[in-house]
Symmetry: C2
Subunit: 702 residues, 2 copies
């Protein structure tokens, strides 16, 4: 049952001075809108009378047309309120309240006879606003040269940021003052083979900040549809951020057709860091679910043929004999297999057996399809066909085998950035999935984009990513897209988008490593827009032990790897390590088997970006709770009251904790498992090691 | 029956000096190949000891790699001969002989360890050559920055040229000396809404030239597949043409993957202009038919709902109420029809009736599908869906009505240059055609390209055009693509490509007019690569009579309009004017009804570029001959011996000629029709008026 209340609070003409104020439902946030000198739209935001955004101007610069920046008059404005509770198909909670006050400002630009509206939605936990362009005679088609949306900060805040880039987000976060970004930016970049940094003070969203007086401020966007992705460029003299859109091949930022609007620009704010994590502002700003039937959308816990390549040095390819693969004339029968191809029938059966034995839903297999011998770095157009298996991968037999065991295979579509080729094969690829019983696909966009000149985060690609999702829905297929644009809450509207990467995932632990604090930042930043396929569950930290040529080290304790299934919310969770490793730690592995991937309720018990996050979640349709803590290199000591449990009820808590001498670098596999009876009165004293954490399952016993 | 002879003439190592000579089968043409200073591949060509191409260098400039221009050594060479006769699915003749001597030169570039071959094929009527890149370790993927293929002319020849342009060929031809191109170029450009001229001495192919000593030289290319279209840039000091490829969005010219090769570069040469027209060199350089079954490919004579819009000022659109069409939310039921939409059920039925009555195969209907209200000039991505008819077009009923009458409707797919959108809808669009019985589609690419920054003639689009054709073949659909890249003989390999525009067609007669000489040039230039959907048959020359707002004039006599069905070879011929006009000239219209669209034999009786063409063709599977003459503003007087007729057999000739006082400007509709008995001994004395012509049907009477 959802409850919708909409009523107009105020529809009078503009105030004498032109200024309009809007308050959040709880009255704590206040938005001021006005036209400044020359008719420039200007807004500011306060929280508890503390400045969050200083007066900041709004406008769009157009290609070959008068800009939509100044010369505006207020034609009218309208204030409404909205209160609705809706149920996500999957999520952190079973119900989400969408409660805001809204200000619609109708602007006219008399010199051009054009109209532009600004719509502000003020929630208790932040602001969303967007530009809207109603149907009109003098502004139908237009091209955005640059969007000039300002976010004027009130000081030299601390920020957790990654450098602005049109093609990748796979960076470690840097914690610094805003004024330090310029000097730290270049050093924060690591090679990803496809990166396009645009400014020494450019950063990506969602950007988490903290002010010296204890406000947490987060800048992001919501409902990025048919527009290019917004980055932020900082004027580090004035501490004013300005929107910086991703350009297309000819340098334009967005092609618009009225009636239309931009995505929402968001400013989340609170004096409690936990509110940043529990906020549903981004989801609420997205449209309701677009599908009538969502019964086929199911959260997924999976294992897969993946870490063998990423971490253990095995290959996606089948042979070393093919320096030049042309799919239309390819004949693998004449090549010599190199024998390092784990996506083979026998090995995949082992994964299926393991998944069936331990209750996993699916088995991902990467490297199942022909073309991997020269897939990367060549701007190759026809790189994969997405339907032809390698000779050693029995497509039909393995799917039948998996089905017998109650497991599904997960499809893998690496596009190599060649999206025309992917779109040409998409229907046939999805048909193949339907034929063999696949219901989910991990897609990838590694490398430079084709069409050449386009970027991962431009309007062209954003349009493509959503196309792949909506076409998949026609086939009842769920999508987990890697290297795609960062999520902006579209999973509310299109809940078959069950995952994205769009950040530095576990795979980097086998390359250059992730900072120990990485998972204490991601929920404040990357996860604001939607779930991440982070692929936790790495139990072997010393990569040299499994791959002599590797110098990689997983910067985490084993106990923290368990905690990530709780702290990194996702309806799609992988147990990323290989079965052989899990067999050595079956007592710890039990937590991964037990933990849920869908929830009726979630509580953030403690949180500080870059330091620690402690979350408790109640598994969907049960009374089981799961608690997780991830800590930075400083570790974390805490006492957790279990007051979220049902009053008076008895539970057994199983606590997977770092051993006293655990340390992410020197002793990551030292953990303890203890069981104790608990109630809502209990308090648990716990300690996370440096780079460590803990995980707790709390199961009712009465 | 085809006869293939291949044998090696010569496989010895290189001659002492490195130079190699190759002769044409008849010995008249001689090619010399050598490496010039610094190891640059160099060739020259003579015809009867007259210089055709002076020593000219060959090479490729690469992106971020050592160029393939100099430092070559000859590893070896091989001379072979080939003689085969093949049967085209449709064509000017029932059999085509493919007879050439071939020289393969194997080059090595020791400094880089790379290999490049040059393959020359010398025919009696010209030369084809291409670059080949065998599979090798040091050159697999590479990007062409520019191709430097030279064609060094031996003098300041006369040329019939259109200005170099990446996006349109819809220009009138200019006849001038090569040295005059620079001064005439800018003035030769007329607006086409999508044009990108690249150089004041740039010209397009096929380029027809004539030397002062009477040689006809034609430069073009054959088998343009997965490469960008070649233009020519003239150094007008030295009279050296150099290849100038069409760039992509980031300025690159071609993305290559060995083993691969470039298209063929062609130099046709003869001292008889008629040999330029009868040559099959371009077709012969293309690969044999790629389809096993071609029974579904049929030449087409058609009428259509088209000139009502182009010439008469009617609309493709349905309403004036929609300044902004969004197909996913469109509701035409709320709009007011403007009533100027000829693609309506009642009107289309009239065309179907007319087609059935007069023996036409098909009726083209443009403007049948939703979206035309704002289809053009907005860089609009989702511009058409290719499946939804306007409310006044009964898709199912009209196809049923046509089928009853033994006629097919011809589909129309205007893409507006938005090729991602077209590819996304292609399968569904072709399925719709199959459902309702369409077997041919006229496609269009008007306006600037999407992906933005790509050009009509770049590798990206060339790949697309062929994709649309090969996907159509899977649906047994024939394609007639307008605004696509100029043809290069691919219709041999993919004979469902039954037509292209790729030049200035009849439609311009209603805009700015075509030069009276236009159709005396096109067969020498545009038609070298394949048939053109020129849409002749305009009987009303004074456009003001049918459209008061028009100042257009068809620069042709009526008799010449008939002749074009013979002189402009195409398996796809439209009678472009409207039924009402034809009803006024049914005696002349009889020729259009009678003339064939497929042939067993063709003879070019007289030809001079820019002056006149007289062609005689024998209709497929019959003994009927059809003769046509098109003349420039100078007219043409001639006496034609009918010695191509069967010896001793009696025929009736019906001669559709310009009346004595006919003139394309002042008296274009004055024609005479005379009938006479003829044999192979007969000679017909005939006269074409200025901008006129004549057409003759010759039917056996015994």
């Amino acid at each position: 049952m959802s409850k919708i209340t909409v009523f107009t609070l105020f529809t009078a003409a503009a105030l004498a001075a032109g200024a309009v104020e809007l308050k959040s439902p709880d009255g704590k946030l206040a938005l001021d809108f006005d036209l400044s000198d020359g008719g420039r739209p200007t807004y500011s935001l306060t929280f508890d009378n503390k400045t969050v955004v200083k007066p900041s101007t709004l406008g769009l610069e157009l290609v070959n047309d008068t800009d939509l920046i100044e010369g505006f008059e207020i034609k009218g404005h309208e204030v409404t309120t909205f209160d609705e509770t809706w149920q996500p198909v999957w999520g952190e909670t079973s119900h989400i309240r969408n409660h805001y006050n809204e200000l619609l400002v109708e602007l006219a630009q008399p010199a051009t006879g054009r109209l532009m509206n600004l719509r502000f939605r003020l929630y208790d936990d932040g602001l969303g606003f967007r530009y809207e362009f109603p149907l009109q005679n003098n502004l139908v088609y237009f091209v955005v040269k640059e969007e000039h949306t300002q976010f004027a900060m009130n000081g030299d805040h601390t920020a957790w940021w990654i450098a602005g880039d049109y093609d990748t987000q796979e960076y470690d976060y840097t914690e610094s003052r805003l004024s330090e970004i310029r000097n730290l930016s270049a050093g924060s970049i690591s090679s990803n083979e496809s990166q396009t940094q645009f400014s020494p003070t450019g950063v990506q969203t969602s950007l988490q900040m903290k002010t010296d007086d204890g406000l947490y401020i987060n800048l992001h966007e919501a409902a990025l549809v048919d527009y290019s992705c917004m980055h932020l460029n900082l004027n580090d003299s004035t501490m004013v951020f300005e929107s910086w859109l991703t350009p297309d091949a000819v340098g334009n930022k967005a092609y618009m057709q009225a009636p239309t609007h931009t995505p929402w620009r968001t400013v989340m704010v609170s004096d409690d860091a936990r509110d940043m994590l529990s906020s549903n502002l981004i989801l609420n700003l997205n449209e309701p679910c677009a599908y009538d039937d969502t019964s086929w959308i199911k959260p997924v816990k999976y294992v897969g043929v993946w870490w063998e390549m990423i971490g253990h040095g095995k290959e996606w390819s089948y042979t070393y004999d093919l320096p030049s693969v042309k799919l239309d004339t390819l004949d693998y029968s004449k090549t010599k297999p190199h024998g390092r191809h784990p996506a083979n029938t026998e090995n995949v059966k082992r994964y299926i057996d393991f998944a069936a034995e331990h209750g996993f839903d699916q088995v991902l297999v990467e490297g199942w399809n022909v073309g991997w011998e020269d897939w990367f770095g060549h701007s190759k157009d026809y790189v994969f066909d997405f339907v032809t298996p390698y000779p050693d991968f029995d497509l039909e037999g393995l799917n039948a085998y998996a089905a017998e065991k109650g497991v599904k295979l997960m499809m893998h579509h690496e596009t190599s950035g060649s999206v025309r080729n992917y779109e040409r094969h998409l229907e046939e690829a999805y048909n193949l999935m339907n034929k063999y019983g696949y219901n989910s696909v991990k897609s990838g966009y590694v490398g430079n984009m084709i069409p050449r000149g386009e970027h991962h985060y431009g309007q062209w690609l954003n349009n493509h990513y959503l196309y792949a999702v909506t076409e998949a829905a026609k086939h009842k297929i769920m999508v987990n897209a890697h290297e795609a644009v960062r999520p902006t809450g579209l999973c509310r509207t299109y809940p078959n988008l069950i995952g994205n990467e769009s950040a530095r995932g576990s795979e980097y632990e086998s390359f250059a490593g992730n900072k120990p604090s990485h998972t204490t930042v991601l929920p404040f930043t990357r996860l604001q827009g939607g779930p991440m396929d982070y692929t936790p569950g790495l139990f072997e930290m010393d990569m040299k032990k499994v791959n002599p040529t590797s110098s990689g080290h997983v910067n985490s304790t084993l106990a923290r790897q368990l905690a990530l299934y709780v702290t990194m919310y996702s309806p799609l969770q992988m147990a990323a390590d290989v079965p052989d490793v899990y067999e050595r730690f079956m007592d710890a592995f039990q937590f991964i088997k037990d933990v849920a991937v869908d929830w009726d309720d979630s509580k953030y018990l403690e949180a500080e970006p870059g330091r620690y996050i402690v979350a408790a979640r109640k598994a969907k349709g049960t009374d089981n709770w799961f608690v997780g803590c991830t800590a930075s290199e400083h570790g974390h000591e805490t006492t957790i009251p279990l007051d979220f449990l049902d009053k008076g009820r008895k539970y057994e808590a199983t606590i997977y904790a770092d051993a006293p001498d655990a340390h992410y670098l020197t002793n990551p596999q030292a953990y303890t498992i203890t069981r104790k009876k608990v109630t809502d009165k209990s308090k648990l004293k716990l300690k996370a090691a440096p780079g460590g954490g803990f995980a707790i399952s709390i199961i009712p016993v009465d």
